[in-house]
Amino acid sequence: MSQSTDEVARASAQERMFDVQLLDALTSIAAADPLPKQATTYRRSPPARLLAAAIGLLGLAVTVLIAWQPSRPLSQAQNGSLAQNPTPSSAAMPAQRWIIKPQDLATTPVNSENLAVYTNAIDDYKPLAGFAQLRRLMILGDGIPEPTANSLVPLGKLAKLEELELPLQDEMLPDHLRALAKAKQVHSLRLHCKRVMTQADVQTLKAMPALRTLTVFGGELDAATVRSLSELPHLDELNLQSVAACTEQVLTQLRMLHRLRRLGLSSMGEQLLVTQLGETPTPGAGLTPAVAMALRDLPLLQELKLVSCKVTTAALAALPSGLRRICIVRCPDTYPADVLALRHCRNLTEVSFDNHDVTRWLHAMPQDFLREPAQLGDAQAELIRNLALTHFDYASTMPNAVRLAIASKPSLTHVKLLWFERDDLDALANVKNLKHLTLDEGRAVELQNLQVLTRCESLETLTVRHHDWQPAELQRMLPGVTVRTFQH
């Protein structure tokens, strides 16, 4: 055996040995903390609590109103913030529990409301019918063996189910989906497609009375199927992620979905940098000028989410000017000129950007790959200055120009920062009317760095994710602010 063959053999043994070490290191974590932690909420003083309750009731009324009026024209929706996904139930979703192994079924409380179930743990969906309180159900994995027309019947019996994620198996026929019509509260369906999604599938989904949000992940769509989505009576949000064969011709059929308010295109279109960095190439056309023009035919469209999606200056310039929210993140091929092409969207009140220093959400982008990083920040800042922003999200460290731009926005009330740094917090202290702040996964940020937020006199709520800061300490630091912490 040659030396190089020895090296290969040794390297693969080392890989396997590292698997073992990871298993050892992670099993202790998983055993100690098998489930995501429950959110801890600290409330304010009793009068403030009453006020919050009143606001909550008002929110509930608004939610019910939105749910009652699924096709409000845009003109009616222009006062106030963009409608969130309407949910029949106003109660907060509890932390998710996982069923990974068959024995987990027996130990999961029957009153669980939020479950993720791995199909290796079950032979069919029958045991899930026992969880009558379920509001959100994620079914992960390849699916069940040999699905039949009755396989999904147990899911139809979950009367309180609102959100469902389901593998659309290769063997599953359109008729098999018919059972979902019984789940009358399901307003959000995410299909993890193992096969081509067809018009016949869409026809069966028509029977789901509350379906408003559809996410298609994987699989394939053709033009006729996209067109047929317009027949879903209440569909107002569509997300297409990593869907193969989504050519320009297919995506332009989106113009038929007249009721659409929110559209998401994720992992779509060939992006040069993505390929150069060795990431998996993403299928489809992405946002081309023709697709953007097609979106102009959607009278209610308010929100466009482009995540890891191909965009061009011409395409962004062709977007409908009535958009209220745009999100362009993890699109590393975006140039400053692309951002400035959005200047015609003068109604934008909510924007989400990043600075491209993270390729997806895990890896640092090599600095020499960044597209004109300083100018990108300048372009984002210029756009922000010309908008009456109320909501602003940023992933990664904000460029200085962006920090200065948001500080000059009296209209800005909601800010979310992901992978932020200390200096970003300093910038927030200058946002005069900041009311609601979410901080997620800060980089080298200590609890005491949040002290600067005491200067935000209008701050009402602070949501902190993925930090182990003690809520009580945060509360002490920011009296009068409602603090929520989530470990997940």
Binding site: M1, R10, A13, A116, L140, G141, F217, Q241, S242, S266
Partner: protein, 179 residues
């Protein structure tokens, strides 16, 4: 006669007890043995059979006086021999030997390695750690993990490879720092 019967019963009970003890000792090594055979490159679908065969050999041999460590080494020796017997070519037998060397080398400072790895894992962004947990601790397939994280299976594969490379470098750095 009654005395002989009593002695026979006693010796049978004694044998049963000794067998139960041995059974418990074997069970306590099962996880280690499974990992060892995995590192040696045994096929996943053959692992259970091999472990069973090793246990049969251990039950047939007089190994009761071995302490825990020595008993583990004895079981690994049996397992390696069985795997070697199943490998026909010299090349694939050599792979087993090389993998055994990797095992010996890595387990020398194993606790230290795991501590270092845990520190490196703690420094990862929560989502990255969650992704590793989904794969290694919960045993989800790439497909299911992809579904959970909104990525395709290939993307998960690339991400895992990069995370592992980073973690391995981090562990080596920490071990060098400690030595």
């Amino acid at each position: 006669m009654f005395a002989a019967m009593a002695a026979a019963t006693h010796s049978s009970a004694d044998r049963n007890r000794r067998r139960d003890d041995l059974g418990q000792r074997l069970t306590s090594h099962a996880t280690m043995l499974r990992r060892y055979l995995y590192v040696l490159g045994a096929d996943a679908d053959r692992l259970d059979d091999l472990i069973q065969e090793v246990f049969v050999v251990a039950l047939q041999k007089t190994v009761e006086r071995h302490d825990h460590e020595a008993f583990g080494a004895f079981l690994r020796g049996c397992a390696k021999n069985m795997l070697l017997r199943a490998r026909r070519s010299t090349g694939s037998r050599r792979e087993v030997e090389l993998a055994d060397e990797v095992w010996q080398h890595t387990t020398e400072r194993y606790d230290e390695r795991i501590d270092a790895l845990q520190t490196c894992l703690d420094a990862l962004p929560p989502r990255s750690r969650k992704l590793l947990e989904s794969t290694y601790a919960y045993g989800l397939t790439r497909l299911a993990t992809g579904q959970l994280f909104g990525m395709r299976a290939n993307g998960i594969k690339t991400t895992l490879r990069r995370l592992r490379d980073g973690l391995r470098r981090c562990v080596e750095r920490r071990l060098r720092g400690n030595s």
